[in-house]
């Protein structure tokens, strides 16, 4: 099979952006200014080519729509493996399955959308290539099937984001960039420790298979997963029951901080508020999903025993994130901060979906990752436009938007409604499925149905903070509205065509996946059933005697 991933999806974006930035860094200001337009067009066209490629993969080369449906557990489409550092068992191994593919497609969708939405960002000669670098690194995380590679790309994503915040951010950008970097880096160090421990402790079951390696061990995820699977199914917990829990906890810490889950979430509002619009869009759209993706890829696939052991903890973390995030939203006066906390709340849904230990809950979590990946960039694009045009982020500083900026008002209402889970928009399906899975789980396992109070409360509170913020931005005012003080008497502009186009694209996809969720959901569902039937169910059956 041709390698359609390594170079086209990961290598070229990173190399191209590095070459562009390297070349222009030596040029004078004037030359750089002249090059802004060609560069951003080049970057846009390049990202559209990437989108075309992944969309083609979506259709499995125009075969059927279900290219990623029904593939067996721990097998991957477009799977390629080269030896990298042979002596340590490090490979360059890439592949796609229904877990990673929607995320890769989402990244390639958001790249051009983000570039278009922030077309006129200052210092564009650096800015747009940096977005491309970010995209390449993010795709790298999702396609990596080797622990080493996974970690490298995981950390690589920090660098462009760090610079995006540091160079294009708001007033407190230095503090926010540092906090973002140190916070998530610290967490990933714990994760790294977990990965290294995992690497060393894995049983060199088939020494011959890795005879080339000095340690007899491998970083290859698919090998580790199949070893783990064998061990778990054979009745011996992979790495032993207690070690499973320890590594599970270490990995989960890294992922939960990235997600982020309460109480590890405070880096997010700071980063978002200070980040430029494009950074926020990618951060909320894809980067947060790295956490959820990592959970499915490693701890869940490897340590089912630990997953069951920590189920209550995970459920509690999910509930707390969900409820706390939404309540804090209601108390925010800063529009972007409110939206950032709403992400925390939505990520709680993913945690709950995982903790239900139901294929339906997992499919819902996967769909939530995807749907939130389309909706939240829209939210941040609206916030960015708000800031850009009114020079203020305070809710209530600008009223009567429906009159002054009807396009922005319409976009805002659409995004807000999508985020609060209006049916036939993408977010609703995931919410509904999580609720059903949660209830089914609670009743079947005999947990208290009071767990349901959390989601119920949040459904109401989410509506409350979104509606209240709209009341004070879109509505009211009218003829008596004075432009906010931050406008300095300037006329109030509506959003430009670039922003309109970007928001329109996101809105269309929100509707598309809301009305026809099966396009993405069917493969996620198949994957969830695959991993659940292949991995979790027999083990739960063996060790607990079923429910």
């Amino acid at each position: 099979m041709q390698d359609l991933i390594s170079m086209p999806l990961v290598g070229f974006p990173i190399i191209a952006s590095l070459i562009i930035m390297g070349t222009i860094s030596n040029m004078s200001e004037e030359v750089r200014e002249k090059l802004v337009n060609p560069i951003r067009w080049a970057v846009l066209i390049f990202s559209l080519v990437l989108l075309g490629l992944t969309t083609t993969m979506f259709y499995n080369f125009f075969g059927d729509l279900n290219g990623f449906e029904g593939i067996a557990f721990n097998t991957y489409e477009y799977h390629i493996r080269y030896n990298w550092v042979e002596s340590l068992g490090i490979h360059w191994s890439v592949g796609l399955d229904a877990l990673s593919f929607p995320m890769v497609w989402l990244t390639t969708l958001l790249l051009p959308v983000t570039i278009i939405a922030t077309w006129n960002e200052k210092n564009g000669a650096f800015y747009h290539p940096l977005l491309l670098l970010m995209g390449g690194a993010l795709i790298g995380v999702f396609v990596a099937l080797d622990l080493f590679m996974f970690y490298v790309f995981w950390e690589l994503t920090l660098i462009p984001m760090f610079f995006l915040i540091l160079k294009w951010g708001g007033e407190d950008r230095k503090y926010a960039a540092q906090k973002f970097f140190i916070y998530t880096f610290t967490a990933s160090v714990v994760m790294l420790l977990g990965l290294v421990t995992l690497y060393f402790l894995q049983n060199p079951l088939e020494p011959l298979a890795h005879s080339g390696t000095m340690t007899g061990r491998t970083f290859d995820i698919s090998s580790i997963v199949s070893h783990a699977h064998q061990a778990n199914m054979g009745g011996n917990w992979f790495l032993g029951a207690s070690m499973q829990k320890i590594i599970f906890a270490m990995l989960m810490l890294g992922f939960l901080v990235k997600l982020p889950a309460v109480p590890f979430h405070t880096w997010l509002p700071d980063a978002h508020v200070q980040a430029p619009t494009g950074g926020s869009m990618l951060l909320a759209g894809v980067m947060l999903k790295m956490g959820a993706y990592g959970m499915f890829r490693l701890p869940i696939a490897l340590f089912p025993h630990a997953l069951e052991y920590f189920q209550l903890v995970l459920m509690a973390i999910g509930m707390v994130s969900l409820v706390w995030g939404s309540i804090v939203c209601l108390g925010q006066t800063n529009l972007k901060k409110m939206v950032a906390y709403s992400s925390v709340s939505h990520m709680g849904v993913i945690c709950i979906g995982i903790a239900t230990m139901q294929p339906m809950g997992w499919a819902a979590a996967l769909f939530m990752m995807f749907a939130h990946g389309i909706i939240s960039p829209h939210l941040f694009a609206v916030c960015g436009a708000f800031k850009h045009h009114y020079h203020s982020m305070e809710i209530g500083s600008m009223r009567g938007m429906a009159k002054h900026s009807p396009w922005l008002a319409t976009s805002m209402m659409f995004a807000w409604m999508a985020s609060l889970g209006l049916p036939l928009l993408a977010g609703f399906v995931a919410e509904l499925m999580v609720l059903i899975a949660l209830w089914h789980f609670l009743v079947a396992e005999g947990w208290s149905v009071l767990w349901m109070v959390g989601p119920a409360l949040v459904l109401a509170v989410t509506a409350a903070y979104y509606l209240w913020s709209m009341q004070r931005t879109i509505f009211e005012g009218g003829d008596e509205t004075q432009p906010p003080a931050s406008m300095d008497g300037q006329p109030i502009p509506d959003i430009g065509n670039h922003e309109k186009l970007a928001m329109f694209v996101l809105a269309m996809f929100t509707i598309l996946f809301g009305v026809m969720p099966w396009i993405a959901l069917d493969m996620m569902n198949d994957w969830s059933i695959q991993i659940f039937e292949g991995l979790i169910m027999p083990i739960l059956g063996n060790f607990n005697g079923g429910v």
Binding site: L201, W324, P423, A456, F475
Partner: protein, 744 residues
């Protein structure tokens, strides 16, 4: 959609076009929005296409046409009962223990039965008429200039959602369209976004119904867990119902009922409805008559098969009692508040709440009967259940028609009062805001000036009051009689039964008060004296609805009071129209059972004599000298004048009493809700936001601080000597090694 159609497809020529009823208005929305954006201020767009009004009208007309064809088909044969088709919408799976996962799918399809048909007609017919009215109302007011396309776009989406809710074949899609309707009502109530009151009312409407919706959603999840599906064809199957634990089912249905309370503005989630008057008048008609508030009734009516199942016999009576009681409380409470309202539309809003309460009581009673009687085998019980359920649904029909008409008529009044005010004060825009075109204090004596509107108002009021032979009389008597029938069996029902009987008299009072204050008496100020007749876009629907309301005796004779899915009670059953009418008349006025005979006349006395008499003694009077009115108003006004002159009394003592003040303040319920929102919810969330920054993030900052201090210590270890570093590396490696060793 992804799956193929199911095997239970019933082939029927018209019903296959049912999706168009939803799709046409839904597709009209982007078209209107787009054209409106592009051609805004273009004269053709404005005058010929009425800023999208004509496009909407075409879509709604097509929807109405297909609906009527489907209804005709259905009533002719009852053959296409149930699922017309169904498609898979989403697939997933669940694990219930055991060796494999269970696949689950949620589908979308069209479901037609007698409840669908009733609601489909009400919704499609009224939406069409309201659309005609809107063209006359919205397009002649300059405040709406250049933004009517937004109104029509939101309007058609609203209609599409309502029609979709009625036609869909599962509780899931009912909920989906239910929510979209909520969104549209939010947008329409907030149509005048620049008014803070409209913005706040829109938020209040969405929030209040959302609270109900949360319960509805959880109820649906619970229902799903009981049946493994939300499709009507599965959950209504008696064989499936027989497998379900009654207590759990009652819990799920109770949760769903809370959703209905929110949507249909019943106590205690009623607070949004009066505020929703901030929307333009066609919206009020739409929300209150045709669509949104009926959604809750529809949901409860849909629960009938659960209550009617033999396996549930006697198990769900508590829920039936709760439904009837909520209805009873609301009927009386809202009628009481309507006593003291001066705003024409608010009187109608509270009247809506009150009448919806009636219908809930009627449904609760019918559900109790279905749940308690052995109606599957006993034909007398069968008739009782069918008639009780039919009465509730018929009242829904009558109320929708009458209230749609009343709202449009009130809109016409307001429109003309507003214009008269403008006409009088065209050079004096200063006091525009002071003048309230909706207040009945600015009306009076309009009967001579707006004959069609006044007639429509008169007939509508009579229907709502239940004056004998007109409109709601047939259904209201049925509800009251059946409530008492149940009360004789189950003493708990004495409460809702007493409420609806009392409410009948109260309705007589406030509806009469409204009419005589607006149309009888002398003009209250010079504005009211200058009101002119209205345009034909507005008159047409009023005319049609007046006719429908007046012909309700025909409908009753045709079997509307026996609204049931079986051919035994079908339209124009063996009796024929004449015999049917005679039967209904005899049944209503000459009941063989002494109890019901007396009850009927007590109810008639309360609603048609006591209530109107009290109102007439306080308000109205004869018209201005020299004003002439249509002959059919003359007896009404003469009676009003006679009562007013002879029995007028000073009610200022009552009007300033504590109760009246409390009623004027809506019994302080809104106030306490607001207080709870501001003090508890907002206060708590502000605290939470503070805790998040100060404590959670504060802890992180502490760690940051400390670690900086530690790092200065660590920095002292940076000796620059390679030997030291090697030592540290060695120690570190050993530690990791021992750590791993120890654990593994």
């Amino acid at each position: 959609m992804s799956g193929s159609s199911s095997s239970e497809v019933v082939h029927s020529s018209m019903a296959e076009y049912a999706p168009l009823i939803i799709l046409l208005p839904m597709l009209a929305m982007p078209v209107i929005l787009f054209l409106g954006k592009v051609f805004n201020t273009n004269p053709t767009w404005k005058n010929t296409l009425k800023e999208g009004g004509i496009i909407a009208l075409v879509a709604m007309g097509a929807a109405l046409f297909i609906s009527l064809a489907i209804i005709k088909d259905y009533l002719g044969s009852f053959s296409n009962n149930g699922d017309i088709f169904s498609l898979t919408w989403l697939n997933t799976a669940i694990w219930e223990g055991g060796a494999s996962t269970t696949p689950i799918s949620f589908g979308f399809g069209i479901y037609i039965d007698h409840i669908t048909v009733m609601l489909l007609f009400v919704a499609a017919f009224l939406c069409f008429l309201i659309n005609i009215f809107a063209i006359g109302y919205m397009n002649t007011d300059e405040i709406n200039d250049n933004r009517n396309h937004r109104f029509y776009a939101e309007f058609v989406l609203f209609c599409a959602a309502m029609l979709g809710m009625v036609l869909s074949d599962s509780f899931l899609w009912l909920f989906i369209f239910w929510e979209i309707m909520g969104l549209c009502s939010y947008l329409l109530i907030g149509f005048y976004y620049e008014r803070p009151s409209a913005a706040s009312a829109a938020k209040k409407a969405f929030m209040t119904t959302r609270i109900g919706d949360v319960f509805l959603m959880i109820g649906l999840v619970m229902l799903w867990d009981l049946f493994g599906s939300l499709d009507y064809s599965i959950v209504f199957d008696p064989a499936n119902i027989a497998l379900v634990n009654p207590g759990s089912l009652q819990m799920a249905l109770g949760m769903m009922f809370i959703g209905a309370i929110g949507k249909s503005a019943q106590f205690p989630l009623h607070v949004w409805l009066p505020d929703a008057m901030e929307g333009p008048t066609p919206v009020s008609a739409l929300i209150h008559a045709a669509t949104m508030v009926n959604a809750g009734l529809y949901l409860v009516a849909r629960m009938f098969p659960f209550f009617g199942a033999e396996s549930m016999s006697g198990e769900l009576v508590d829920l039936a009692f709760i439904i009837a009681s909520i209805g009873g409380i609301t009927a009386v409470m809202a009628a009481g508040i309507a006593f003291v309202q001066d705003d024409l539309k608010k009187v109608l809003a509270y009247s809506t709440m009150s009448q919806l309460g009636y219908i809930f009581t009627g449904l609760g009673v019918a559900l109790w009967l279905a749940n308690s009687l052995d109606w599957h085998h006993d034909s007398a019980s069968h008739t009782i259940v069918v008639v009780a359920f039919g009465a509730a649904l018929f009242h829904l029909f009558n109320h929708a028609m009458a209230k749609g008409m009343l709202f449009m008529a009130s809109g016409s009044v307001i429109h003309e009062v507003h214009h008269a005010h403008h006409h009088l004060h065209h050079d004096d825009h200063g006091d525009d805001d002071e003048f309230d075109a909706q207040s009945m204090e600015n009306m009076g004596g309009l009967a001579s000036k707006m004959p069609i509107t006044a007639t429509a108002m008169l007939v509508g009021s009579a229907s709502i009051m239940g004056l004998p032979l007109i409109g709601g009389f047939w259904s209201k008597e049925g509800i009251i009689a059946n409530a008492w029938r149940v009360a004789l069996e189950d003493p708990r029902f004495l409460f809702p039964a007493a409420c609806v009987l009392l409410g009948a008299g109260m309705t007589g009072f406030y509806m009469t008060r409204m009419w005589v204050k607006t149309f009888a008496g002398k003009p209250n100020n010079e504005v009211a004296a200058h009101v002119g007749p209205t345009n034909s876009w507005i008159k047409t629907p009023l005319f049609i609805l007046t006719f429908v309301t007046l012909s309700s005796i025909l409908l009753a004779g045709m079997g509307f009071t026996h609204w049931a899915p079986d051919s035994e009670y079908s339209f124009l059953s063996d009796k024929g129209l004449g015999a049917g009418i005679m039967y209904e008349l005899g049944h209503a006025f000459a009941n063989h059972d002494a109890f019901y005979f007396i009850l009927t006349y007590v109810a008639i006395a309360l609603s048609a004599i006591v209530g109107p008499f009290m109102a007439m003694s306080l308000f109205g009077g004869k018209l201005e000298e020299g004003e002439d009115c249509k002959p059919w108003f003359k007896p009404v006004i003469a009676l009003n004048n006679w009562v007013y002159n002879k029995y007028h009394w000073d009610n200022s003592g009552i009007a300033t009493s504590g109760l009246a003040v409390a009623l004027q303040n809506r019994l302080y319920i809104d106030k306490y809700y607001d207080l709870a929102m501001v003090k508890i919810v907002a206060g708590f969330s502000n605290k939470a936001a503070e805790v998040d920054t100060k404590i959670i993030d504060g802890a992180v900052k502490q760690i940051e601080d400390k670690s900086q201090k530690i790092s200065t210590i660590v920095r002292s270890l940076t000796t620059g000597s390679a030997r030291d570093y090697i030592l540290w590396v060695a120690i570190g490696t050993l530690l990791i090694f021992f750590f791993i060793w120890g654990v593994a």
